[in-house]
Subunit: 154 residues, 2 copies
Amino acid sequence: MTKTAMPGFSPCNNATLRRAARKLGRFYDDVISPSGLKGTQYGLLYQIYVSNEPAMGTIAEAMVMDLSALGHTLKPLIRDGFVEAFADKDDRRVKRVRLTRQGLAKLEEATKLWSIAQQRFETMVGTQRAADLRAMLDEVAALDYGPPEAALPD
Amino acid sequence: MTKTAMPGFSPCNNATLRRAARKLGRFYDDVISPSGLKGTQYGLLYQIYVSNEPAMGTIAEAMVMDLSALGHTLKPLIRDGFVEAFADKDDRRVKRVRLTRQGLAKLEEATKLWSIAQQRFETMVGTQRAADLRAMLDEVAALDYGPPEAALPD
DNA sequence: CCCTGAAAGTGGCATATGCCACTAATTAGA
DNA sequence: TCTAATTAGTGGCATATGCCACTTTCAGGG
């Protein structure tokens, strides 16, 4: 087996994770594309859908995403009328978001496609192994890479 | 435990993978940042380093990355003098790349930082579990999501 | 040797993500 | 109550990634 025939096989956990993310992302994107949404956008609409008119910070936290990055990612979805934002009534600093009627319709349309991708993937790696993988990834996403220095209790 | 205290827990393999990639990416980025490189750039320099004056297409394949995306990502590294490109002598369509003296020095500098991140991560999740995770991710990156339609043999 | 089709990159355009510097709105204090 | 510190977002800037339309080279078939 020539080394050029296989992936990079770097021992770096980060590089390996990104490599897999690129590949899987393209797969989901391809399958979901007929809806006009990217995989990431589908995930964002879904997160908003399952939340209760969440504040931006809440979504960012749930998605383990930078708040400003979320704001950027949200723009095209708002521009296309799938999501609408409004100020919180008790704290005007807080901006909440919700799906529009179109957004909900688009989410439902995309969910059918997502199911195909999801199922195809799970058929290939096995439902149980996929669940194990997600569990491991959830753990990674929840890790607390303690503060670089200081910030110790008391 | 309030639900806002944990990640989104989406059943979507793609969303879960991206979520973990964002978190881990930031961790490695933070630790490697003193070198001035991002985690992705470190990975790219490393890949070039372990290859033999690879053609762009070869790197793209090894990293399971789009060729044009690789070209874009390579620009800042060439601009900063860490990588240099040159045409293949037998096929002028092919562009090969290699690390410059500075690039090699920067890679060595960054590798020390990378080791810290790598070790901190593995201490948290366990060396064996990290290896298992990478194996699973390498498998995902190597999957063949057969052609959408047609393209069947004969 | 000329023409056609495949192969390798480039550039433009759009989304994905982060960090940093700021602004606006709240809350904690004196 | 007026001010300092904190919290939630925004905008700008830079990298990360992809897709598509081209341009340049090669490899073949006549």
